[in-house]
């Protein structure tokens, strides 16, 4: 196995682009990533493209815009973990020595569905009976509040922090700060969640260029090491499950820490899957940033806010940057790589040396989540 480096990053501002095609969302991110490290498309050994709902051959549709094609292009669907799973495939292609340079894309256009909650698979028996994604997280929130005494006001603080961060990120979809009171008084979606507890739907694209040590040196571009890359699936059960504990994420985190030779205390910055407010607190616990049931204490301490020692979702996370599902994993990777290079902009975490990204999701009956992919990056 050889080391793998991120040598180029690209992202478009997330938002609503109903008049653009999926390819038109994707190519500017790929061009940006290629320009950053000075590669041309003839040097690309393979392309991995993650999209959950983008349709067939998304990667081919994007790559035809930016130069000669003909390399292997693999399209990957893994719900909210689509492009983070693609990243893991790209990492594997270089780590194993099969390729020296690959491009990984995350691209999604949700505005084509006309708004509302994410369209889920109607063959799923729970979806067929009326399950919607916000309700699944809402039940986690309710049970967590029941078991640990978390209040809805405290939970609203997650949204306040996310939008504080996102307000200074030029690529965030929602760049408005909110107060606890505004969160509490917004429109009800699925109790106890009002609108501000939920990530927006929208469109987005991001891309990274991965390189072997040899090619990273040759390109001379700023290189950030991929210290861990892993993908895990949920454990199916039709029996009881503790919905206050993110078992899948915890399992993946343990594996990723081991692979990187790092622990939770070594992480300076993290982009985690805060699709709904409760998720952020549960993932603090799953990543061992704090003990079980104490997520809100960690949030209230300010340690996970900009200026803290374990800054979570400096980009604004899914709640503020947005969550075009298949694009999220690479958007997180771009964020962490730029944080570690020190060139992310106004929401810079000063002196960050190690960061992680985490995309998990998929509403399928009997799974905590369908998929989870975690990456750790170091400089």
């Amino acid at each position: 196995m050889q080391d793998v480096f991120v040598v180029g990053t690209g992202i478009i501002p997330f938002g609503k682009y109903p008049d653009k095609t999926l390819a038109d969302l994707g190519w500017p991110a790929v061009k940006q990533a290629m320009k950053e490290c000075g590669v041309n498309s003839t040097q690309i050994g393979a392309v991995y493209c993650g999209t959950a709902l983008g349709g067939m051959l998304a990667g081919q549709r994007v790559m035809k815009m930016v130069g000669p094609t003909g390399m292997p292009i693999i399209n990957i669907e893994n719900a909210c973990s689509s492009s983070s799973s693609a990243l893991s495939q790209g990492w594997m292609a270089i780590a194993s020595g099969v390729h020296d340079l690959v491009v990984v894309i995350g691209v999604e256009k949700l505005t084509k569905f006309g708004g509302g909650t994410l369209p889920l698979e109607r063959e799923d028996w729970e979806v067929n009976q009326g399950m919607v994604m916000p309700a699944l997280y809402a039940m986690r929130a309710q049970r967590y509040m029941h078991d640990y005494g978390l209040t809805i006001e405290q939970l609203a603080d997650v949204a306040v922090k996310a939008h504080d961060h996102g307000a200074s990120n030029v690529n965030a979809q929602v760049r408005k700060r909110v107060t606890r009171d505004e969160v509490m008084k917004s429109r009800m979606v699925a109790e106890p969640f009002t609108l501000w507890h939920c990530c927006p739907t929208g469109d987005g694209a991001a891309a990274v260029v991965l390189a072997s040590p040899r090619l990273a040196r040759q390109l001379g571009a700023a290189a950030i090491k991929v210290a861990a890359s892993e993908v895990t699936s949920g454990k199916f059960t039709d029996g009881f499950r503790d919905m206050t504990w993110a078992e899948l994420t915890h399992r993946g985190a343990q594996h990723a820490y081991e692979m990187a030779g790092l622990g939770a205390e070594d992480i300076d910055v993290a982009e985690i899957h805060d699709a709904f407010t409760i998720a952020e607190l549960m993932y603090y616990e799953a990543f061992s940033f704090c003990e079980r049931g104490r997520g809100h204490e960690l949030l209230a301490s300010g340690r996970t806010s900009l200026g803290g020692d374990i800054v979570v979702n400096p980009s604004g996370g899914l709640l503020s940057r947005g969550h075009p599902v298949g694009a999220t994993g690479i958007a997180q990777a771009v964020e962490i790589v730029r944080q570690l290079r020190g060139d992310v902009g106004a929401h810079q975490v000063e002196g960050a040396k190690a960061g992680l990204s985490h995309a998990t999701g998929g509403g399928v009956a009997g799974y905590d989540h369908g998929a989870c992919s975690i990456h750790i990056f170091t400089r």
Partner: protein, 147 residues
């Protein structure tokens, strides 16, 4: 449920349709029964009934009736959903004494629901399909609401 009621004069379209007849039946006495699966080889219970036993890979999984009461694990009242559903509607996970967790609509004044409460099986209309036909399914209701 004004939308559902307005269509009830339309004979032919009006007979409620059970959302998923593989999960339930309604007995002659109008009581709902929830149906799962029991593996004929190893005895493992599944809900919904699976075509193949995940424990021993036997394809001899037979229908079996599920318990009629359970404990509400968590719930939510959904205000935003596809137009097929009558919003707001309450849904939750009900833990049955045989170790299975069932996703279900809940029938009760929403402010009376609480995690940990005992709930019993009934049935009712929860929405309508794209053609306007009422959609019926199993429901759980707080035990003291049962007749």
């Amino acid at each position: 449920m004004p939308e559902v009621k307005s269509q009830q004069g339309d004979v032919g379209l009006l007979e409620p349709r059970i959302i998923d007849p593989s999960l339930m039946r309604i007995n002659a006495d109008d009581h709902a029964v929830l149906m799962g699966g029991r593996c004929g080889d190893c005895g493992a219970i599944s809900f919904p009934r699976t075509p193949v036993c995940a424990s021993c890979l036997s394809e001899g999984v037979e229908a079996c009736d599920m318990p009629q009461t359970g404990t509400l694990y968590a719930f939510s009242v959904v205000h935003q959903a596809r137009k097929n559903w009558v919003t707001p509607y309450a849904i939750g996970y009900v833990d049955l004494p045989n170790g299975k967790r069932v996703f279900a609509h809940l029938k009760a004044p929403h402010d009376t629901l609480a995690p940990g409460m005992t709930v019993g099986l009934t049935h009712g209309v929860v929405g309508h399909d794209d053609e306007g036909r009422p959609l019926m399914t199993y429901l759980f209701t707080p035990a003291h609401h049962e007749a």
